[in-house]
Symmetry: C2
Subunit: 180 residues, 2 copies
């Protein structure tokens, strides 16, 4: 209808400047938006591999560490136990992971990536490289490093804040200490 002005605004010119986005104020909004876009981008890249966004986190950890207790996996990725359970059920059903009871502790489960899933390893790594490239496109190396540093600081800030109020245990995989 009548010359959609919106598309025009977003069109290279209007969007390229994107002064509004930068000045938009709250970092919180920016985090939410960036995260959402990032997730969508991840979904696009991973879709062809048969993985849904978020699952690659688990798989990468499993590929990296071999058979692990589910509780270890939970602490490593920092997700809710129920979330991990359901994700693993789907991944198991898809043939990407295998779960077996831990003989030394009959309530625990050992999780490991299947051999079949190994084929995905290189693809997923490539996809993540692509995603990283898309994410950091237009940023210089120094900016990238700075962004990583700042995100790290924000992460620790949020983390301590949450630990204070929520009493969540949370091993926090690679998180807090050691800010280089």
């Amino acid at each position: 209808m009548t010359a959609e002005p919106v598309q025009e605004s977003r069109a290279a010119s209007g969007c390229a400047a994107a002064p509004s986005a930068v000045l938009d104020g709250p970092v919180s909004h920016a985090i939410s938006r960036v995260s959402r876009l990032h997730r969508i981008a991840a979904g696009r890249v991973l879709r062809e591999l048969g993985l849904h966004p978020g699952q690659e986190f688990l798989m990468m950890h499993l590929w990296d560490s071999g058979a692990v207790r589910q509780s270890e996996l939970i602490k490593a990725v920092g997700l809710d136990p129920s979330t991990v359970t359901k994700m693993l059920q789907r991944l198991e059903h898809a043939g990407h992971v295998r779960r077996r009871p831990d003989p030394s502790d009959r309530r625990a489960s050992l999780v490991e990536a299947t051999d079949a899933s190994r084929g995905l390893l290189v693809e997923v790594r490539r996809a993540w490289g692509e995603l990283e490239r898309q994410t950091l496109e237009g940023l210089e190396a120094a900016e990238c490093a700075e962004l990583a540093r700042l995100l790290g600081k924000v992460e620790t800030a949020l983390w301590t804040e949450l630990a204070r109020g929520g009493g969540a245990d949370c091993g926090a995989a690679s998180g807090e200490p050691d800010p280089c």
Copy 2:
């Protein structure tokens, strides 16, 4: 627990892998983690107000812009139409939002915040201020600005990349008085 050595694998220190940073995808990981923590923090702060994380986005826009077409709202927040529909259904059921058919276009809906919801306005603003404070705790003003700038760049980068692959309109929610 078993004698499971702490898996302080190479990952933790993003700075160490400066040259190969792109391969490991530290920024992508960081974005995901920070976003998740941030969302949890937002949920904590908003829970007492009866809002779920994400809803405040819609409400803030509605408070700010009065009655709007649903399609305008969708473009403004940049979410999927179906997502907005369901969120609005819940918000309406909760009494925060009112929807009425647009007389000038019988397939469209006009959405507006209810008077009752206005009471939440100041609370939500306060909660977001609190959230912002938690998020940026430990960062200096210059770092905060730099983070905002970098996130803006990442956002536009992801955005153009997504627009290339999938039909995209562009809303670029912007232009509101936001104290930082």
